[in-house]
């Protein structure tokens, strides 16, 4: 999967978890800092949005063509982010789960974590408009 320029700015690396599901890794970079010692909430939020987008692309699977161009257009309607813990100066991971894939709407959640997947630093809920 080809990630857009903004994902490269964040330094996001596409990975796969043990179950074969897509995952994003963001190595720590000073460019992602907000208040001293902590990642910027916007960088974490941007990463969550990208993780949700990647999960949705993965769920659409065969509806995407092989050359990176999409047969389905995906437009974000809204996103709600909860910040649970400060993001520290270390590697961050994020993964999305498509909770419902409809004809016109997709509901996706995403979580971001650092050392422990069961202790997320932030979570997001995203709604997308699909056009086939």
């Amino acid at each position: 999967m080809i990630l857009p320029p903004y994902a490269r700015l964040l330094g996001l690396l596409p990975r796969t978890d043990d179950d074969g599901r897509p995952l994003l890794e963001m190595p720590f970079a000073p460019d992602a800092i907000g208040r001293p010692g902590f990642l910027h909430g916007g960088a974490i939020g941007g990463m969550l949005e990208m993780a949700a987008y990647v999960a949705l692309r993965d769920a659409l699977g065969g509806e995407s063509t092989g050359d990176g161009a999409a047969a389905v257009t995906i437009k974000p309607i809204n996103v709600t982010i909860d910040f649970m813990r400060g993001g520290r100066e270390r590697t961050t991971f994020a993964a999305g789960i498509v909770t419902r894939l409809g004809a016109r709407i997709a509901n996706v959640t995403a979580t971001a974590w650092q050392d422990d997947r069961t202790a997320p630093i932030a979570a997001g809920r995203m709604n997308y408009l699909l056009r086939r």
């Binding site: 320029p5 903004y6 907000g34 990642l39 916007g42 990463m47 982010i81």
Partner: protein, 127 residues
Amino acid sequence: MGGHGERLGIAYHAHGGDWCELALPFRDDLIGDPARGVLASGPILTLMDMATSMGVWLKRGSFLPHATLDLRIDYLRPAVAGRTVIGRGECYRVARQVAFVRGQAHDGDPDDPLAHVAGTFMLLDAT
């Protein structure tokens, strides 16, 4: 401003007693949809997080520590490619431990917003 805001090119635009406007100039490395040349939603999220955060500081009259508790953004329409996005964040209520914020982003006409936000900040100096 340093850090992530500076990396995105976010700059001061205007402020009042309980609100702040920041500018996000268009840049190719902020694109989220290369086919349409549209800005990614993440930089707009960062812009609004920073503008509403500044709104809290302005309303409280001091750079007291706080952390974003939650932020919701409605993406009303895509930003027009090439245009600077202006994000206005307002703090409309400060309670003992929580500050409540709202805001809008536009790319030239404040009456034609491209995003609407609502959120809260935890006040870290509260006892």
